[in-house]
Symmetry: none
Subunit: 402 residues, 2 copies
């Protein structure tokens, strides 16, 4: 695989504009009753109309048979080899929240409040999904933890989730996680994966001991789980290397974090997709690449709610005309992975991909769904290759070789 | 390409069971009379029914345009990069026969009895395919060969085929073969490919000289050919690295040998496919991955016998219900390569591939053949990627990245 960055000499800045709408968990699978997928069932006249005038195909997010997290799923869409650029969950969370003070040398972890019984066995890995109103105060109390020579800080994120930041000398993120991923057994101890990480492992375990003591009298949130230990990731800048002025429009912290790591400008986007579209319209003159994120399809799929995913896709459809009215030179609808409702999880299935530009005239695909897109002109391609297609269709990638 | 073994941290043991039925030489080509392939002509109601409820596609065995031997064709199906893991023919034969004493440091070669004329020119590269009843005694006589400082042993395999094993100090398999692959010229001398192999080359040539003398009065089998010199191969274990308890069910020695090298349990399988299916049924509770091999399609294709290949495929079809009745969680029908009857040889053509699980609902493919499978949801994929699909569909491969 050639990294798109190796093509830098062939990339030129132009006035053309690219909008990449990433529909989280876009792809689905047929349900057994009528053998139709969420996209096949959903009434999406605007997406169908777009598909009729676009180049269509399917993307393999990472590799055949591999269900990716949203991190690698997105990185591939932005042209980063997801096996080369690995970003820990802690860093994704930390960078997504503006107020978290996270710098080079720090180690961050994603924390969950959880519930354990008197034998320290996990009863609920999310402490009954306690609301932010309850967990904010708990985070404040966890900031009483003190460890010699280190500066620890707990930041509330949302509901039962927080970020732990450890600051000090010679820290390492080569640590194992404490979440055993199931109930009925005790949280695991943090272990160093190599000798350089032993000081950090000891600190993380000491944090957990003190945290447990602080939370001892809590009903639900009487323990914490830590995972995704990570230092500050370092990626070549998407904006610099692809010569784009790139804006990221996402409501959820994780996607803000991810795109900030990629070197995009994360612009204020409100809480809903309507807010995001408003933001896109407002900022449209100021950038030439826009990433805009739609979360609801994935959330419904993860819940195993076929009808809710259909509704989420239909809601998305109503926003398409506003985006087309901006007249971007290239409009891409892609997904970071599939989230079939019948699986209630991310999956490895190829994801519908649609690219409109004034060069695409349609190709007989008349419906926006997995099956129709199998016959699209793009075929089934690697997600990591779509940025080259985007740049070419936007006239930003010149001929390779004489 | 990412080696599936790099995903080890994402693989989990589960109770789910995978059956991979490898139909040797599965793919074919249309004959000129009615432009239909063997699979299109064959009446295969059970395979068709399976395809109607499966994810279908085509596999490229090794690379576009490359006709593989059964070795690399199978290795790819098991997730081994066939360019990285090369196993000599000698080792394949030797490891497949239980009674052959072959250990680290030994060099083995696949031997053929052949016929030469009075000028030592090849007349028949297989000595008229002499039967085992005749060749067994000849092998016993070849064991009279003695070379100073070396322990040589000739093992009968089947018909005109034998294995020569050389045991001694500092041997090397970096040797050229003696079979010129055509008649009318003399067998070649063994040459060392590098200086470390000169002792072994000399021994092999000395063996041939003595063997020719021993066979001088034979009518047909009056000479030997040696090829596929190889030491003991070393591959990462399929079972360990993919966290599977894997059973191999194959009647032919070469496939036993190959899967033994891969670290599968080679279980007694009789001589026919019926025996193999009986063995599968018997062992079904004891393993969670089953490789089961069907040879007849390849044999008929190699003979250039279109009708015989059709019959072989129809015979295979009658066994499918027995296998489905076992209720494996994932059932795969794959081929190691195509063997089109019109070519009478292995070929590079994409091979039909079909994966059934409770996640596959069918996708409009209604017939088990090359042309129908082109429209399957899997598209055309690399054979080396199918184990990831198998593991994912079996719930054994967890999400990659956060």
């Amino acid at each position: 695989m050639i990294d798109i960055r190796e093509l830098q000499d062939s990339i030129q800045r132009t006035d053309s504009k690219i909008v990449m709408l990433v529909v989280d968990g876009l792809g689905g699978l047929p349900r057994s009753s009528d053998k139709r997928s969420e996209l096949q069932v959903a009434h999406t006249p605007n997406l169908d109309s777009l598909a009729r005038n676009s180049a269509c195909g399917l993307t393999i997010p990472v590799l055949q048979g591999i269900a990716p997290g949203s991190g690698p799923g997105h990185l591939a869409l932005f042209g980063y080899d997801p096996f080369k650029y690995i970003i820990g969950r802690g860093a994704l969370e930390a960078i997504g929240v503006d107020t978290i003070d996270f710098i080079d040398g720090d180690i961050v972890a994603r924390g969950n409040f959880c519930s354990v019984d008197t034998d320290n066995k996990l009863v609920d890995r999310r402490a009954g999904r306690i609301p932010s109103s309850e967990s904010k105060g708990l985070c404040a109390r966890l900031n009483q933890v003190e460890i010699d020579g280190l500066d620890l800080k707990v930041y509330h994120v949302k509901d039962y989730r927080f970020v732990l930041r450890i600051r000090g000398e010679n820290l390492s993120d080569r640590l194992t996680e404490t979440d055993p991923q199931r109930t009925g057994i005790a949280p695991l101890r943090v272990k160093a994966r190599d000798s350089q990480a032993e000081v950090t492992a000891k600190a993380a375990n000491e944090f957990i001991v003190q945290a447990k003591a602080i939370l001892a009298n809590e009903n639900r949130a009487n323990m914490v789980l830590l995972r995704g230990f990570s230092g500050m990731p370092s990626l070549p800048s998407f904006s610099d290397s692809l010569k784009l002025k790139a804006a990221s429009i996402a409501a959820y912290p994780m996607y803000k974090g991810l795109t900030r790591i990629c070197g995009m400008d994360v612009i204020p986007s409100g809480d809903t997709f309507s807010n995001e579209v408003d933001s896109l319209i407002k900022q449209f003159p100021s950038y030439d690449f826009f990433y805009i994120h739609y979360k609801d399809a994935d959330a419904a799929g993860e819940d195993g709610n076929f009808e809710a995913k259909v509704t989420a896709l239909e809601n998305l459809d109503t926003h398409i005309p506003q985006i087309r009215d901006l007249n971007p030179d290239v409009l891409i609808i892609a997904g970071d992975h599939s989230t079939p409702s019948i699986m209630a999880s991310h999956s490895w299935h190829p994801v519908p991909f649609c690219l409109w530009s004034n060069l695409t005239q349609g190709e007989g695909v008349d419906s926006f769904d997995e099956k129709s897109f199998r016959n699209g002109s793009l075929g089934t391609i690697a997600a990591v290759d779509i940025m080259t297609l985007a740049l070419s269709h936007a006239g930003k990638l010149t001929k390779f070789g004489a």
